[in-house]
Symmetry: C2
Subunit: 191 residues, 2 copies
DNA sequence: GTCTATATTTAGATAGAC
DNA sequence: GTCTATCTAAATATAGAC
């Protein structure tokens, strides 16, 4: 039936995107090969091109996957009522990934850093991706009545991206724990 | 004479390292080819291998060049007497590079981000490179009598690295200007 | 729709003339 | 020491059998 066929098709496509995200996160965009992704997704190499015409299309799909997940994660934080609680929940959520970050960096940040060096459309997609948490944080600060909401949002996401870079470079998850506490105190001080 | 010969040799080697730093900064390590570097240094492609046995050796030389420059820049900041003045001078120095950063990111940060994905010795060199400003800042905070000098140093460099990533991703040097002012106020508040 | 075999391209590295 | 021509390896992409 078309159902089982299209399910298999969807299954492979999704596995390829998931594989691309995983391998790209671990090894970076440029060093990742189609063969690496195919292997991670358990799909024969030649078959990849049935679903994605080029490597860049696969990278674009991986970025889009990150965007979907980021939006869902941010929406989920809105279960908290107060904006301060939401912002601190974001910080805790981000800091809970410290072991992964120590090994491979922030999935969004490393992607932005690498793809910003390119002049094709992929760098703009990354820009939109990083704008999601900044816009969301700005909204929370604005609800708190801060006129400088944008600056604070930029400072918060920058603090996270920066500590993610140091945590990764020094392979020390403890750095994130300490900076997370500092950021929570900072958010409290703005209330 | 040997002088003119060794001068020419030094000249080419230095041009290759300078070219490598420039091209790698603009395009990233992985996408940069030996041919790109040779062209930037105005040296014939085949001749590169007389000075550097592999591409990685050239990358290592580029990292070392950054380390030398960073150390010199930090020493130069010590013309200021007070640690607060030194730290604020560091912030101003870093922020003065905002146009470059908007185009290509922080030279050290983008290098660390990209090379941390590798398991060869190059990732450790980057780690040492980023440790330079952190150690230096820690020293200043300690001179100020702060017991939490290390945390503050990590927070400062992280704030810079983070805002550099956002400035680059959003192609907006103004972000750095505003965050720079915030950091200077923050340093003053710790005095 | 799936997959193997292969064409094409490119980049790292080397041999050897000068 | 310098440089050209070329080898080799690897990765993207395609052709075409099933």
């Amino acid at each position: 039936m078309t159902d089982s066929l299209s399910e298999r098709k969807q299954g492979k496509r999704e596995r390829l995107v998931a594989g691309a995200r995983e391998v790209i996160y671990r090894h970076g965009v440029e060093t990742t090969t189609i063969a690496d992704i195919a292997q991670a997704a358990d799909v024969p190499v030649g078959n990849v091109y049935y679903y994605f015409k080029t490597k860049d299309e696969l990278v674009a799909a991986a970025i889009d996957g990150h965007a979907q997940d980021a939006q869902a994660a941010l929406r989920s934080l809105e279960r908290h009522r107060a904006p301060q609680a939401r912002l601190k929940a974001l910080v805790r959520e981000l800091m809970s990934q410290r072991e992964q970050v120590a090994d491979y960096g922030c999935p969004l940040g490393t992607l932005c850093s690498e793809l910003d060096k390119r002049a094709d459309g992929l760098d703009r997609s990354c820009s939109e991706l990083l704008r999601l948490p900044v816009d969301w944080a700005e909204q929370q600060f604005r609800t708190m009545g801060r006129r400088d909401a944008r600056d604070l949002a930029v400072a918060l996401i920058a603090a996270y991206q920066g500590i993610a870079l140091l945590t990764n470079t020094f392979r020390d998850p403890e750095l994130m724990t300490r900076e997370g506490r500092r950021l929570e105190r900072w958010i409290d001080s703005l209330a």
